[in-house]
Structures are given as C-alpha cells and as structure tokens.
Symmetry: C2
Subunit: 134 residues, 2 copies
DNA sequence: AGTAAAGCAACTGGAAAAGTTACGTATGAC
DNA sequence: GTCATACGTAACTTTTCCAGTTGCTTTACT
C-alpha cells in the first residue's frame, strides 16, 4: 500500500460500513476488500475504536461494527482519531537555536496551527454517510 | 538531520542572510551553520535559485547571495520554491475504485486543495526580513 | 473441545530522504 | 598559465518511516 494510507483505509472502510450500519465485518473481510492485511486493518480500526467510532468483538461471530449512526461520524472524527496531522508540523528542533530561528519557528508553527484548525473544521462539515450519497 | 527539513533549512538560511543582504556565503559556511552538508545545502538552495530567490557564483570568492530585497521574499515564495506540498495530497489511487471511494477522494481532495491554498496565502503575508524582527 | 475472531509484540522489507563521496566545471588570485 | 576555491551533479550509502508479515495469546461462540 502507498504511504500515509491509514486515513484512506479508515475512510474507505467507514464509508463502506455506512452502507449497511449494524452489520458486523471481520478484519479479514475488510482487509480483502481494501487490498491489505488483517493486522494492518486492526491497527487502524483500533484507533477508531479508541475514539469511540467503532466497536469490536472477539470470538466467533465477532468483528467490527459502527458505534454510532453514520450521520454522526464526520471526516474530522476519523482524521482526529488517527493522530496523524496532515499539516506537517516541524516540531521543536532539538537544539533550541538562536532568536532568529526561534522567531521563525513561532511564525511558521502559528500559521500551521491555524491551517490545521481550519482543515479539521472543513472536514467536520461532511459525514461518512454523506460521502456515499446517503 | 530530521525528516522534511528542507523547508527549515531554506527558511533558516534565508532569514540568516536577510540580516546582511548582499553578503556572499559559501555552501560550506551555510552547511556548518545549519549543521548539515554542503551538498545538501546546494541541493536546497538550488531550488531557491531556480525560483529566482538566490543567485550563485562559481569559483574563487563565489557563493550564494539574495537575488532580491529580503522584504520582497515571503515565506510563501520559499515554500513554493521547494516543490513539496505540506498538505499531504492523497493523490489519485492506482485503481480507479468504486463510486464510494471516488466520491471520498473528491471530497477530501477538494478540502485539501482549499487548505493548501490558504496556507500559501497565509505564508505570503510574512517576509523573511519580518521574521528576524527587521 | 474446537473454531474463529480480535489483540499484541516482534520482525521483515521497501521506499524516501538525508548524508556522503567523487569528479567535473567555472572563476578569480597570483 | 597555474592553482585554489566554489558551485553542479551524479552515484552511492545510511537512516528512518511504515506497511506488511508472522506467531502467539486471549476471548467467545458452537
Ligand atoms: S542559528 Fe541563528 S540564524 Fe542560524
Ligand atoms: S466501498 Fe470499497 S471499493 Fe467501493
């Protein structure tokens, strides 16, 4: 799979599940559908479970299920659940650096935070059920 | 050096140079100052030269110099010169995919493009001379 | 008991980026 | 004219990040 694909995998899977909410799916099924590996699926969906978007059950007839109405799960929820930040934050450099570099960091970080915020806001305007035309 | 450091290196160097514009610096000096390698510096600054932000001269007493007044070089100029895009665009997936996935791509890509645009706009509001309190 | 699922930890492999080495080319000093 | 110096570039090496994989454990249903 390609780089930074966790978000793609998560969104794809949730959108798919939004089609028949309540239905249980195994990580193997999901992996096959998404062209990847069950363990990778569990890793990603595990994050979504921690965020309260999904539930999982072990054992026979276990699997994954939406924890909420698909209308109540936004793209931002998914984005935030995987704690990647798309707007690459060049986080505090190891060496504190001089005043010039410090000022630079401040300025750039400030802008990036703003941008990140507006990204989340925009993503929050769409639910996973809307995406599939539902 | 850490990942995705090209922008950091470029901004740091230009901000530094904005302190005494007109002065020539060698890639060795810059590399030493930034804690990296002259070849890496030349790679990064080469991009800035292509974008018309810097000039370089070979030979004895050669080196790098700002091509414009530091007031006329914005953070956006630098960002765009290195053609990385910070807002990770999950570009068209190899397999065209079904309608659900397609709709998803459309939606997300649209938002990301918007965000990228506003990032550049915001970065364009600050010049490298402002950053150093000049 | 047996089977099927998630959970988890550790290892493997490939790709991207930084870093390095080596050599060519241009330019000013002498 | 020669030499030192600096950029330009290509090729190679090293590092780092992640997806992918394997193997084992735990849980729950039949
Ligand atoms: S460390 Fe201050 S300008 Fe470079
Ligand atoms: S929902 Fe997965 S390919 Fe269409």
């Amino acid at each position: 799979m390609k780089r930074n694909s966790r978000l793609s995998l998560a969104l794809h899977t949730l959108s798919h599940m939004a089609g028949s909410p309540g239905r249980v799916r195994t990580s193997s099924d999901i992996a096959e559908h998404a062209g990847t590996n069950p363990v990778v699926v569990r890793r990603v969906l595990g994050k979504l479970r921690e965020a309260g978007l999904l539930t999982s059950e072990k054992g026979h007839a276990g699997g994954w299920r939406l924890a909420r109405e698909p209308q109540n799960i936004t793209l931002a929820d998914v984005y935030l659940a995987l704690d990647e930040r798309m707007v690459a934050t060049n986080e505090a450099s190891e060496t504190p650096a001089c005043s010039v570099e410090h000022a630079l960091q401040e300025r750039v970080s400030g802008v990036l935070e703003e941008i990140e915020e507006s990204l989340v806001k925009r993503l929050g305007e769409t639910s996973i059920s809307e995406v599939r035309g539902g």
